[in-house]
Subunit: 184 residues, 2 copies
């Protein structure tokens, strides 16, 4: 890695932490520069603006991982459990995605996200046609519910009820709820 590439990588890492914590409006390029031990002007040279720096972070951390958890339409409970684990391992992802939704609008406006959703909906439609998934709800509705359940205890969730219940209990509850949805 060249020295310029190393600096860019440090800036991106610092910007990920900054945007995850403060969002787009709240982020400060000064803090990113200090954390990355980089010159503030260099950030503008490399990324043009705070907004474009956010785009770079979002592209690196949210868009690229869309398909990191393999989608298994014939095993939606297993998929939901793996997605739950993935969100736990990468707490910044749901925060960045939520900032995007609040400050920029729906993620589906991004071509990579729209394409990822479309292929998952198609796979569920096929699983329904094959009788592997119940056809009670339309495939897009099934996908939305599965994603909502997997994100239940995510960092920006609407439902962070405090409890002593462990990770395994939560994962199991998500899996069983999705199983009910798939089998209903």
């Amino acid at each position: 890695m060249s020295r310029a590439e190393a600096t860019k990588a440090r800036i991106l890492a610092a910007a990920t932490a900054e945007f995850s914590a403060y969002g787009i409006a709240g982020a400060r390029v000064d803090r990113v520069a200090a954390a990355a031990e980089a010159n503030k002007n260099l950030i503008y040279v490399y990324f043009s603006s705070k907004d474009q720096l956010f785009d770079a972070v979002f592209d690196a951390h949210v868009v690229r991982v869309l398909d990191e958890v393999p989608f298994t339409a014939d095993d939606l409970p297993g998929y939901a459990g793996k997605l739950f684990d993935f969100y736990r391992a990468h707490p910044e992802l749901l925060r960045l995605a939520t900032w995007h939704r609040l400050e920029r609008g729906a993620l589906e406006a991004l071509p990579a996200v729209a394409e990822s959703y479309r292929s998952k909906v198609d796979a569920i439609a096929k699983a329904q046609a094959d009788g592997v998934v119940a056809s009670t709800s339309p495939p897009a509705v099934v996908l939305s519910l599965v994603l909502a359940l997997a994100a239940t205890w995510g960092s920006a969730s609407a439902s962070e009820i405090p409890s002593e219940d462990g990770v395994a209990v939560r994962r199991d509850a998500i899996r069983r709820t999705v199983l009910g949805l798939v089998a209903s």
Copy 2:
């Protein structure tokens, strides 16, 4: 209503729209003053700071409505359906709650929210003891999943998959998924 009360009410209404759209860091007191047709200094006289103006909005719009949808532990599918309808009718609520989570931290730190959660968890525990709700998952886990499902298509949801499916189809899918959770 006195003239001062009327001005305060206009400021709160304008601040609700501003914070819902832009969050705490992104909100501008100038815009609130212009929208409320109020003097900017008056906002500081009444509410001290932008942060305390957010507190007032949050208290009026999120905390006070916590129990507006009656909680029915013996009919969790019905509760989830009504909560879904409530979120649709008040799209600013989930946005304000999500801004709070991202910019201030978990809602449960607020006494009124913690108390509301606690009484709901107790009611589910009782319904489980009575055999009305399955005891497969701990009561706090059940509540989290019900709240997550009801917010699936909320304005800051992790799962806004585009689809042509109507409101009734979505509400029905939420109700049936909660029914599976309750009966499992």
